[in-house]
């Protein structure tokens, strides 16, 4: 009894407050989406999504209570079991799940359905924390890298079977956690470099310009350094390889399914097809852009309310905020997210066990990726990827999975005094 009192005092109330602030703002925004001045319904009305979301919020609070009263050791000890259970569910989802628009995302009975892809995120973070906690686990070594990537890639592969590319992408956000845990820096230089070159190759119409720049830069590098023939050969081969890669991108893109090609091209030019593929991004930008500095006022938005923006209470929920509360509202919400992420990094760094720290960074990685990609896609900085905005977007699975993800860490953090310091 005494122990649990101590733990309550040690709960990080800053993180918890930001969580509730985001959930409440999200709930009000969901009401703004479905609000119709002609048929006024209460925000609590269970026939509209704001009423249902309130139900999800209530149950989420129940989940929080369960997590907080549970023993902190429970998560560490059962992490691999939880991971395997969700892998099992992911395996059976394509067989027993419900198909919507060619995707099988959810499984369940009747009204009660969950999206295992959402919950497998925290399970994977837990499993990785468990696998990587041993002091000898060194990510700069090849065999440990194989283990870490193995744990990461199994759920990714299963989710790709549904197929749900957006959710699968989220798992790669755990590379941020790998970075903290010592995966060599050159992996990232190489990764970010190749992504940049890929984007440039897609975005620049004439690949000749890029090729010319590469030739120019290779020339400078050869000229500046030692003029040994090995070095000249190495740089030349790298240059030729890069140019070949750039030219191969267009070929690969042309082999992609048309809707994926379009999603990529719309990023570079949303006006190519404003009524077709560009519709989502164009309408989303119109909704957010029309908000101005202070917004149109709560429930006064026209773009999201009158269905111009699709999927507005889930993936495009940020549009309602941008339209009705303007840049100031966007600023507040982005600051809350940045503040929460900052707080979580601070919290992760103060953990006494490696397990807790790794899991903390897992939470940071997943939340950060969702936050960045979701908002970036609504303003046309990222291709349209169907992933929700944490704590904001309508939906039980999404709210529950983010709540569980976050509060397991808050629980671990609040119990850090009783944990044995095993940090290396």
């Amino acid at each position: 009894m005494k122990e649990s009192e101590v733990q309550i005092n040690r709960v990080d109330w800053i993180a918890v407050s930001i969580y509730f602030a985001l959930v409440m703002i999200g709930w009000f925004n969901i009401y703004a989406v479905v609000y119709d001045s002609q048929v006024e319904k209460s925000i609590f009305d269970l026939s509209i999504s704001s009423g249902k979301q309130l139900m999800w919020i209530g149950t989420a609070i129940g989940l929080i209570t369960l997590i907080m009263v549970a023993d902190y050791r429970f998560f560490e000890n059962l992490s691999l079991v939880i991971y395997l259970i969700f892998l099992g569910i992911l395996v059976v989802t394509p067989i027993f799940g419900k198909e919507v628009n060619g995707q099988i995302l959810s499984i369940g009975v009747g009204e009660f359905r969950i999206q295992p892809g959402e919950f497998a995120k925290f399970a994977t973070a837990l499993a990785l924390a468990k696998v990587m906690e041993r002091p000898t686990f060194d990510l700069s070594k090849r065999n440990y890298q194989f283990i870490a990537f193995g744990v990461l890639l199994v759920p990714v592969a299963l989710i790709l079977l549904q197929p749900d590319t957006g959710t699968a992408m989220v798992y790669f956000s755990l590379l941020i956690m790998f970075y903290r845990e010592g995966l060599p820096q050159w992996y990232y230089v190489l990764g970010i470099g190749s992504v940049s070159i890929t984007l440039l190759a897609l975005g620049v119409d004439n690949n000749l310009y890029l090729a010319a720049i590469i030739v120019f830069m290779v020339g400078i590098l050869i000229y500046m350094g030692k003029k040994s023939w090995q070095r000249i050969l190495a740089f030349s081969l790298i240059g030729i390889g890069l140019i070949a890669y750039i030219y191969s991108i267009d070929f690969v893109v042309s082999k992609l399914p048309l809707h994926q090609q379009n999603r990529i091209m719309v990023l570079f030019n949303p006006d190519i097809d404003p009524l077709g593929v560009g519709w989502n991004v164009t309408q989303s930008k119109i909704a957010i852009g029309s908000g101005g500095l202070l917004g149109k006022g709560y429930l006064e938005g026209t773009q999201t309310k009158f269905d111009f923006v699709p999927e507005q209470d889930t993936d495009f929920i940020f549009c309602t905020l941008g339209e009705e509360f303007g840049w100031l509202g966007s600023f507040v919400v982005i600051s809350l997210f940045a503040g929460l992420l900052y707080r979580l990094v601070i919290m992760a760094e103060r953990q006494k066990t490696r397990f807790s720290r790794i899991y903390g960074y897992g939470v940071v990685s997943i939340l950060f990726f969702h936050f960045m990609v979701n908002i970036a896609m609504t303003i046309g900085l990222f291709p349209v990827v169907g992933i929700p905005l944490p704590f904001f977007s309508y939906g039980g699975s999404s709210l529950w999975s983010f709540t569980v993800l976050l509060f397991i860490f808050i629980k671990l953090d609040s119990s850090r005094a009783s944990q044995l310091g095993r940090i290396s």
């Binding site: 101005g292 773009q303 982005i334 990094v345 940071v364």
Partner: protein
Amino acid sequence: MRDQRPAIILIVIFLVSGVLLVKLFAIQVLDDSFLKRAESNAIQRVVDHPYRGLIYDRTGKLMVFNNPIFDLMVVPREFNVGDTARFCELFHISKEELIEKYNAAKSYSKVKPSPLIKQFSTTDFARIQDFLVDYPGLFILTRNVRSYPAPTTAHALGYIGEISAGQLEKDTAGYYSQGDYTGLSGLEKYYENELRGKKGVKYKMVNVRGVDKGPFKEGEYDTISIAGQNLTSTIDLELQQYGEMLMNGKTGSVVAIEPKTGEILAMISAPFYDPNQLTGSEFGKTYRKLNNDGSKPLFNRPIMATYPPGSIFKIVQSLIGLQEGILTPNTTFACNKSLVACHNHPNPVNLFGAIRNSCNPYYHQAFRQIINQEVSSNTFKDTEIGLNAWREKVLKFGLGAPLGIDMSGEKGGDVPSSKLYDRVYGAGHWKYSTIYSLSIGQGEMQVTPLQMANLAAIFANKGYYFTPHLVKALDGNPKKIPAKFQEKRSVGIDAHHFDLIQDAMAEAIYGTANRAVMKDLVIAGKTGTAQNPHGEDHSVFIAFAPKENPKIAIAVYVENAGWGGRAAASTASLMIEKYIRRTISRPELQDYVIAGNFMN
């Protein structure tokens, strides 16, 4: 090295947040194009068309009103025809037509309404109203078209029609938009600004499918339409209709003016048409038909047709002569037929006799004295000075330039100046013998029937006139009519000179226009004959009555009807009787005019 990594992760988080905020600032605050696109997305501007002003005659009878017509509209997505045969029977439409109209509507828009059946009458509307509930996606759109209880006065009233691209371009105030109706001729055009009222605008919100989602900001920016002003015309509907009955089947003009005010009592252009033809959806078709008609029913003869004034102009010459002191009532000239042809009458004649007998040589000699006043010793120069001085006096009678009636397209006729002859003959190469035919209103002179009616009004008023006009009051207020119609205009001739003229005109109709004579209603008139090189001469007559205290001044032109004493004088006399007595006491004269056999 590894200790830097948490800091690097934090930097990345803040950097990404910063990039998002900067991009948001750019599209939300710096770029206002999204706001405009949002408005065009979700806010629809609905124009509330005002009720166009009505037009009444001078006695308060309704001449033009707005008649509601009903279009059956269809929203293809919601429409379900059910039993096609039953539908076709109920709505009086053939199956082929239904399919054609429905497909056209569908290809325009599945969610926006298009017309399915146009122009139901009020009775048809009442009949189908009950069935409408059985058919979702059908509704009735009400529009107003101009309607005329009496099919009369088409030219003066004019018509409205869709605004043209050219007119839209000239509409710098931006009042009109494509598809708006505007007055295209007659009173409808001249008083467009008064009749049209003021459009209202409602802003409503629509969702992505164009479905109405209620007023924008509770109607804060909405304006209500203001109905147009009602116009009271100067037309006497009964007189107008009587005149049209007389002129039916003929070609010509009748213009009747109230001399003391310049108000036009009747204005007939024959052949005429039923103004109801130029309304609604049939407008284009009927307009083309009328426009291609060889008898030119759209041509507004009273203000557009020009003729030489002929003998009637001799009165103007007499007045100028009297005012100049060149003529006195006792001035006598011989009827010298070697100067210009004349008919047999007592000889020589004084001024009274010259008017009564319409003596051509008298005016040939009188006009020479008016023109050649020996201001210059050079006879050519003297003629030029004389002609231009004379012209100035003639212009004061409202001739040679448009009078300024409240209709567009008015012609001014022509009173030649020295410039015309200089151009034709060369300066210094013409003299009185070149221009003498002006003395008897022939030659290069041209006048409109309206100008002739105005001349009659000037004679009746003894030297002044009001610009003839068709508007008596706007919204019941006579003061609101344009100021130029309330201004008395003098012709520069002393009133006492008109006494002799009026006596002579009253006397003149005995003999030249016996048919026009009425017991105990003294008509002062003058016949004229407008020479027509293409066929029979045009019959012309002007008159005013009663001679003491004139109530009506009139000009009648009947084309190809020969001498003025028959067709024109008879018509004018009947019109005068109708206006003053309100009954016709001479049915045989009326029959004679209606029969139209003037040449025998």
